[in-house]
């Protein structure tokens, strides 16, 4: 199956947040605001950016950034959701394979088998996964964007675009085969460069061996609050590559060693007893 991808054109996004709500609508994600008897308790903290953070029921959020350079104010809108990395830190750390790549290249997860360890939450270079987590009991489940491939709510299987892509009024989101999205993104970056945006770039084409959500940016990633060179941390790589095998190896060797000792020592003990 061909790899698919979303292409987000930050130069077209108007931050209407249709995607933010459409994501909740389709995926049945409730709002994340506490209620009180006659209303809700939500507050503005001096920004248009609300809710304040991604959460298990907010898989996609538009980030608002204000920058001023050369006397020109700019208001940048960025999509904040799972990037569906090829070299995905979350997949690397998930102890039991609850997070995995599907045939389209997306990072899916099996919520039923999620143990709630939260390793993915800490490992993600884009700080995307979130878990509902009781402070007291530690009971938790990770949630994040599934690119509308959640079981029972799979839009792609039915030939539909992801909810966020479909709902985008200014057409800032596209969905299709990854190679086509790369081509479209490169073309748009070329156009932006001719318009004078020398820092224009296609973010995600090669990052982490290729993201499945790529951004057309008219400026350097750092300006948009994206890591310039996202990478999977050493400790993250170590988990499945080193710690888990080391655990098995040391554990195995110990058992073997002790078993051998027992055989030897018992033989000797018997000899002595005789």
């Amino acid at each position: 199956m061909a790899e698919k991808a979303i292409l987000f054109d930050a130069t077209k996004c108007t931050a209407c947040r249709g995607c933010q709500v459409a994501c909740k609508q389709w995926n049945g994600n409730d709002e994340y605001i506490p209620t009180e008897p006659n209303g809700v308790k939500a507050s503005n903290r001096g920004s248009y950016e609300n809710p304040p953070d991604l959460s298990p029921s907010t898989w996609l959020k538009i980030r608002f950034t204000e920058v001023e350079s050369g006397g020109r104010v700019r208001w940048l809108f960025t999509r904040q959701a799972c990037m569906h990395c090829t070299d995905a830190a979350c997949v690397r750390v998930c102890p039991n394979g609850s997070l995995y790549h599907n045939g389209l290249g997306f990072v899916e997860y099996n919520k039923d088998t999620c143990t709630g360890c939260g390793y993915c939450v800490d490992a993600c270079p884009f700080q995307v996964p979130r878990s509902t987590r009781s402070l007291l009991t530690g009971i938790a489940k990770m949630d994040k964007c599934t690119l509308c491939t959640t079981q029972g709510l799979n839009r792609l299987d039915d030939g539909m675009e992801p909810a966020c892509v479909k709902t985008c009024p200014p057409g800032a989101l596209q969905f299709g085969n990854r190679d086509e999205m790369v081509a479209a993104g490169r073309e748009r970056v070329g156009t932006l460069k001719t318009m004078g945006w020398s820092g224009a770039n296609l973010y995600g084409e090669n990052e982490l061996n290729g993201l499945h959500v790529m951004y057309v940016l008219d400026d350097y990633p750092a300006v948009y609050g994206l890591p310039a060179a996202p990478r999977v941390e050493g400790v993250t790589r170590a988990w499945k590559n080193v710690i888990q095998p080391l655990g098995w190896a040391v554990g195995g060797l110990t058992i073997i060693g002790l078993g051998m000792n027992w055989l030897v020592a018992r033989t000797n003990a018997k000899k002595e007893a005789k």
């Binding site: 108007t14 931050a15 409730d30 939500a42 001096g46 248009y48 104010v73 940048l76 009024p169 200014p170």
Partner: protein
């Protein structure tokens, strides 16, 4: 909208002024993006840097309330450039389709000569005598013209003189927009003046909500006419309207001054139908002017036949006197209505899905006035601030004697009917879900109330009982048949009982009926036109979708489209033709493309039978100079009722003809030095009664805030996210400060003027509550329309 949403994609340059489509008309932005993808430039003119500005190629800041100065400066630039580089403009359009060559009464004097006033001002009456604003007529009674545009009395020269005062420097001094930014904007926009190029202006409430809001619109129209941008694909002046059916409700004239189809309201001096028609039917001596409004008698008689049926006969002036007559000269608009309520004149109020306790100006006053009512009926789907005014914070319900009924209505997709969008597309909606068990649609409520009233008057009688008794009201016994209503609006040939196919066939003799002539042809013998869902593109593929829904008038998608062609009927823009004369069509040629604004041949094809393209004007030409408005034939800068600076253009501070009810509520800049504007955000809707009960959008925009510059925040010691008090002469509210570099103080005449802004969606009812920005706004309105001045008033801001 002269054009429609999809048509924006045809534009070469788009100016969003007094509007913020990215936030308030997000769907429009798809078409803006489509235009931009083809190379179009977007100019955002706004006091604050909005989400639209974020996507604009050029952002022009301007102090709230200075649109006229800004656009007048643009007009001056264009007029100068027309002289210098006439080839860059469509001179045929200007001389043949507009009234630029018409000669004006030599007695006319402009504000340059009269210190901010036009000739004919009567300070006692605070109104103009328009005698000197009229055309010079020849001996046949036809206006005189000078197509060389050289005559000093011709409109073009009068305008040159008028607009000469609006130099880029003057514009910058008034608006606070830097000269180079202003020039870049007008150079970019003026490029659409070239033949075959299109520029569109997208405006909204940022334009209209001023004491000179109508003149703001006029200034856009003048600019667009000079650039030849009216009638063409990708052009026009497009009011982006804010409610799903505000266009339809305006067309059906739920407004005091008009009757369905924009027919003037009857007044006490209209002692007969003839007198009414004499007052309102325009006349012309020009044989080539279609003067479409000469059909006035057909429309009003057909309306009376729809309402009073057999009781409307030729003998009784078609029941003309059943129509209520307003007192000539008296204003009954929203502000006047609440003043009358406050004065105890109005005793009963019906409210259908509106929320004036949040949306009305000077909301504290309007809430207080409601307490003087004997009764109030509110039909809505939620609890609203209006319905709950009697126990609003700080009020003892026991002191309010108003009886209140709150009737549960249904939402749009729980009933059937049509709505008309901003682009005049009438679209049918079907019932797709069930409402809560006891909720009822408004049609049912209206039917129930009217039938009960008819029964009461039949049983008990009463003054004017015969009016109510004669009212035709047969929509079924149980639920009123919405299709029957739609057919009544369309109208019938009363002789045959067949549905009318076009308003061109309506008659003034009582043999036809039509509840609204503009909607005639929307529901014909061929069926319900609004329900069509055929996406077949138009002949020239310019996005008209002629078989999708229906568009008034007569399914015309771009009005004044006969200005989109040259004198031979060939499109100015070969790539985006709207209509095109086809000599091979029919017996003597005909039009291809959109439904033309009248089927007459082009000027050069048949100079005798042709009609000038602007058929709704008596002279058949678009009015650069127009005597229709009460506050001047051309656009002149005045300051808002509350302004931080004196008028730099003249000694006339405010629009001289506005009516002020409460002079004592005017704030002064010494006490309230900061300009404030109210507006909406993408995530909420209007008075908020819809969206403030929907958690998904509440969490996206949870509470009201005041946006301010970093400079103002530093002066006041306010940190981002802190709670602050915003106070005007009318009220004070406490909201969260959003300190942002998107706001900048304006530098004008060496002075620094701060501006802040507050979204107005909130109130004290619903899931998400917060103070209403309208507690601050003034009870003063536009000279022509009385639309309140929400966009520019004075406040002070301080830390809590």
């Amino acid at each position: 909208m002269t054009n429609h949403w999809n048509d924006i994609a045809n534009a070469d340059v788009i100016m969003a002024i007094g509007s913020n489509p990215a936030e308030n008309h997000p769907a429009a932005f798809g078409h803006i993006t489509a235009a931009k993808d083809k190379g179009a430039r977007l100019i955002s003119v706004d006091p604050r840097f909005t989400r639209t500005s974020a996507r604009a190629d050029i952002y022009c800041p301007l102090r709230s309330g200075t649109d006229i100065a800004f656009v007048n400066g643009m007009i001056k630039y264009v007029m100068d450039d027309i002289n210098a580089n006439p080839r860059n403009y469509n001179m045929v359009y200007i001389t043949e389709y507009t009234n630029a060559p018409y000669l004006i009464n030599p007695g006319y004097k402009g504000p340059g000569e009269l210190n901010g006033l036009f000739s004919g001002y009567d300070p006692g009456k605070k109104s103009y005598d328009k005698a000197t604003w009229q055309y010079q007529l020849d001996d046949k009674g036809i206006p005189k013209k000078d197509k060389t545009l050289k005559d000093p009395d011709c409109v073009f020269q009068v305008m040159k003189k008028h607009y000469a005062r609006y130099t880029p420097e003057a514009v910058s001094r008034i608006t606070g927009c830097p000269v180079d930014t202003f020039l870049l904007a007008i150079q970019t926009f003026a490029a659409s003046g070239a033949t075959g190029k299109a520029g569109t202006i997208l405006y909204a409430m940022g334009t209209t909500q001023h004491t000179y809001g109508t003149q703001n619109v006029r200034s856009y129209a003048i600019l667009q006419l000079l650039l030849g941008n009216i009638g063409i694909a990708g052009g026009g002046i497009n009011a982006m309207r804010g409610e799903s059916n505000v266009q339809g409700s305006t067309d059906h004239c739920l407004l005091y001054h008009i009757l369905p189809g924009y027919l003037g309201v009857t007044q006490n001096t209209d002692t007969t139908l003839a007198k009414y028609l004499e007052r309102l039917t325009p006349t012309t001596k020009d044989p080539n002017s279609a003067n479409w409004w000469q059909n006035y008698p057909k429309y009003i008689v057909s309306l009376l036949k729809a309402w009073y049926g057999n009781a409307a006969t030729k003998d009784n002036d078609f029941a003309f006197h059943f129509l209520p007559k307003i007192q000539a000269g008296q204003n009954y608009s929203h502000i006047a209505l609440f003043e009358a309520m406050d004065a105890g004149v109005i005793k009963g109020l019906m409210v259908w899905g509106q929320n004036p306790a949040v949306g009305g100006p000077d909301a504290n006053l309007e809430r207080r006035a409601m307490g003087r009512l004997d009764w109030m009926v509110v039909a809505d789907i939620w609890h609203t601030e209006t319905a709950n005014f009697w126990h609003r914070p700080g009020v003892d319900p026991a002191t309010i004697k108003t009886e209140v009924f709150l009737l549960p209505a249904v939402v749009s997709y729980e009933k059937e009917g049509s709505v008309t969008n901003s682009g005049r597309w009438m679209q049918w909606r079907w019932k797709g879900a069930n409402p809560p068990a006891q909720a009822r649609d408004d049609l049912w409520m209206q039917d129930q109330i009217t039938r009960r009233l008819k029964a009461l008057y039949a049983a008990e009688g009463g003054p004017g009982a015969e009016i109510i008794g004669s009212l035709v009201w047969n929509y079924g016994d149980e639920h009123p048949d919405v299709h029957a209503v739609a057919r009544e609006i369309n109208g019938y040939d009363l002789a045959t009982g067949k549905l009318m196919g076009s308003f061109a066939n309506l008659k003034a003799d009582g043999t036809t009926s039509s509840g609204n002539w503009l909607y005639c042809a929307s529901y014909t013998e061929d069926g319900n036109m609004a329900a069509r869902r055929d996406t077949t593109p138009d002949m020239f593929n310019v996005g008209l979708y002629p078989r999708w829904g229906w568009s008034w008038p007569l399914n015309r998608r771009i009005i004044y489209n006969r200005a989109s062609v040259d004198l031979d009927g060939q499109p100015w823009d070969k790539e985006h033709p709207v209509i095109k004369w086809n000599p091979a069509k029919g017996e003597s040629g005909g039009w291809d493309g959109d439904v033309p604004d009248g089927g007459w041949p082009p000027i050069n094809v048949n100079p005798q039978t042709t009609r000038w393209p602007f058929i709704m004007k008596a002279e058949g030409h678009a009015r650069l100079f127009g005597s229709g408005l009460v506050d001047g034939p051309l656009t002149e800068h005045y300051e808002p009722w509350e302004a931080p600076v004196p008028n730099a253009m003249s000694g006339q501070q405010n629009n001289p003809v506005i009516k002020v009810w409460r002079p004592e509520e005017q704030g002064t800049p010494d006490k309230y030095p900061i300009v404030c504007s109210t507006y909406r955000v993408c995530e909420h809707w209007q008075g908020g009664q819809m969206t403030r009960n929907m958690p998904w959008v509440i969490e996206a925009q949870p509470e009201p805030f005041v946006e301010m510059s970093e400079e103002l925040a530093a002066e006041k010691g306010i940190a981002n996210g802190e709670r602050v008090i915003v106070e005007s002469a009318r009220g004070r509210i406490e909201v969260v400060a959003v300190v942002t570099m998107r706001f900048k103080p304006f530098q004008m005449n060496g002075r620094r003027v701060h501006q802040v802004g507050i979204p107005w969606h909130w109130g004290y009812t619903g899931l998400s509550t917060g103070p209403s920005a309208n507690e601050l706004t003034p009870h003063v309105g536009d000279a022509n329309t009385m639309i309140p001045e929400y966009k520019a008033f004075l406040v002070d801001v301080k830390k809590v």
